[in-house]
């Protein structure tokens, strides 16, 4: 059996856990730099504040409807997420952390368990220990556990946040209820083609012939179909290394000076390199992108990118930063007000088994140097060790005008009790 445990409106729930006065109030959380809405409480959803709403357009709507708006507080959400995942590990050793607020659990050898009861225990423990409400869907396959989770979320009165699909009758009822858009793994392309075939619900999809699905779509679609039939084909993923790592940001202000942009790019490149080292990958390709503010139509628009192919894969901040900064000189145009930039590293290979190159090679000193930099930054936090091309005086400041305290990661921000 599999379970999908999903935190309800996770970011909003984290804010509420440390500020219970926010319970039952409509709240919304903004993306990095206070751009647009990325999480809403049920109350804010009911007021029809759309997901992704740019706040500069919706601010007056929020004020008029008493929707409380917060900057995203990732130190808090990250810490709460890791607490929750650790608690989930107490229920089974087989767990796949699917996102910051979702995990798949697999129960091997739990045949005679009362899963409804076990699901309740999971939900109750997470809620009591962290204050975060979750929904738990339990079923014989991963795809069905997602469906069960949707049911638990949609019908809180009847399910109390836990739903188990443990009979064919329940499975068919669930599949007839859920539309294609809501099925995990059915992307827009597949959705379109299935609709053309007359499929409306997940149940219709499972009634298509196996061979035909396999031939006309893909092995993935076939696996999903089997999973929905109750035959487990999609297995718990071991944490898969990412195929590309990106650091892209909007700037606080626009920049038309190349040195400022070079500094930003160097910082983004360093951050990509650090992420590479964390997952044990090296990259072959660096992609650098600059763009002007596309919302300011009256200004001259410019968007440019450049791809650098490296002669050998690397995870060294020095090389990635140097290459990325050089690309800036090639694509930068004078007179443009740049608002956004990014570095994406691709062509990732595991660092431990590169092919050795005959002539071109990374300076072997980089490896121990990077290790030392990572350790120092871990120890002293806030990136004390930087490259010379990064601005040493300032730490980059995101726009976070409505930030809540870092209740769990900063001793000066902990809750105050009278």
């Amino acid at each position: 059996m599999y379970a999908l445990v999903d935190c309800n409106n996770f970011y909003a729930s984290c804010e509420r856990a440390f500020n219970p006065a926010l319970r039952n109030k409509p709240i919304a959380i903004l993306s990095n730099n206070d751009g647009c809405v990325i999480s809403r409480s049920d109350e804010a959803k009911a007021l029809k504040l759309p997901m992704g709403a740019p706040i500069f357009k919706w601010d007056s709507f929020c004020k008029a409807n008493n929707i409380l708006v917060f900057s995203s507080n990732y130190p808090l959400y990250g810490d709460m997420s890791s607490r929750i995942m650790k608690i989930l590990e107490q229920f089974t050793p087989d767990i796949e952390i699917y996102s910051i607020d979702e995990s798949f659990l697999e129960f091997k050898g739990f045949e005679n368990h009362d899963f409804k009861d076990y699901g309740n225990q999971i939900r109750t423990r997470v809620l009591k220990w962290t204050g975060i409400p979750t929904c738990v869907g339990i079923a014989p396959t991963k795809a069905l556990s997602k469906v069960a989770n949707k049911i638990a979320r949609k019908f809180p009165e009847q399910t109390k946040g836990v739903y188990v699909i443990d009979s064919d009758e329940k499975r068919i009822k669930a599949l007839k209820w859920i539309t294609l858009e809501d099925v995990w793994g059915i992307g827009r392309g597949l959705q379109k083609r299935l609709k053309a075939k007359g499929c409306k619900t997940a149940y219709d999809f499972t009634q298509l012939p196996d061979d035909w699905v396999r031939k006309s779509f893909s092995i993935t679609a076939w696996k999903l179909k089997k999973d929905l039939e109750g035959i487990s084909k999609i297995k718990l993923d071991e944490v898969e290394a990412k195929r590309a790592i990106a650091t892209t940001r909007s700037f606080e202000y626009t920049y038309s000076d190349i040195d400022n942009i070079k500094e930003r790019i160097s910082t983004f490149a360093t951050s990509c390199a650090e992420k590479l080292r964390k997952q044990g990958s090296s990259c072959h390709v660096i992609y650098v992108v600059l763009s002007s503010d596309k919302h300011k139509k009256d200004l001259q628009q410019h968007r440019a990118s450049r791809v650098v192919n490296l002669p050998y894969p690397t995870d060294s901040s020095l090389i990635i930063s140097q290459e990325a900064v050089q690309s800036v000189s090639h694509i930068f145009k004078k007179g443009i007000k740049y608002k956004r930039a990014g570095v994406i590293v691709m062509g990732l290979v595991p660092t431990n088994n590169h092919q050795l190159q005959m002539f071109e090679h990374e300076n072997p000193k980089h490896k121990p140097l990077m290790y030392t930099i990572d350790k120092l930054n871990e120890k002293y936090a806030n990136y004390k060790v930087k490259l010379g091309s990064q601005d040493l005086k300032r730490t980059w400041k995101m726009r976070q005008e409505r930030l809540s305290p870092r209740y769990t990661t900063n001793i000066n921000d902990i809750i105050v009790v009278k």
Binding site: R83, K128, W129, G131, Y407, T408, I415, K418
Partner: protein, 146 residues
């Protein structure tokens, strides 16, 4: 290991061996007698381990005010709170009451729940259905600067 041999050149592949790094003795061996304490080394004491029994459920809070001085909770003290513990009679709890956090001793009997300050200048609070009330966590330790 010889990989390829031609008339002029012989190629070798290196034979990497893992795990043969020399042990590093941080006691400093100065060609004499090794430290007799080395064999008896133990982990340093950790306050974290002592004060935080359940990492996932432990949070901290700062005391503001005098209402619990009788229980040794002074203004500005640091509280260790374990949310996993069950609230019960006589435990000190961090509660959320009508819009703010408060720390008080729980008094529970068949007639109801009271929040009892440990300072005669503060009133006992009876919790009624009118109150917006949750017990947020149980206080396990108080840390104070002296």
């Amino acid at each position: 290991m010889i990989l390829h041999k031609s008339n002029a050149l012989t190629f070798f592949t290196p034979n990497p061996i893992k795990g043969l790094g020399a042990p590093f003795f941080d006691t400093g061996i100065s060609a004499g007698f090794p430290s007799p304490a080395e064999d008896f080394k133990e982990q340093r004491l950790s306050l974290d381990k002592e004060l935080v029994k359940n990492k996932e459920a432990t949070f901290f809070a700062r005391v503001s005010g005098q209402s619990m001085i009788g229980a040794g909770l002074d203004d500005n003290d640091l509280l260790v709170i374990d949310r996993s513990l069950e609230p019960s009679h006589n435990k000190i709890a961090v509660c959320f009451l009508d819009g703010e956090f408060t720390v008080k001793r729980l008094k529970v009997n068949t007639d109801g729940v009271w929040l009892k300050p440990e300072n005669p200048n503060y009133p006992i609070i009876k919790i009624t259905a009118e109150n917006d009330f949750i017990i947020w966590g149980i206080v396990t330790n108080v840390i104070k600067k002296v």
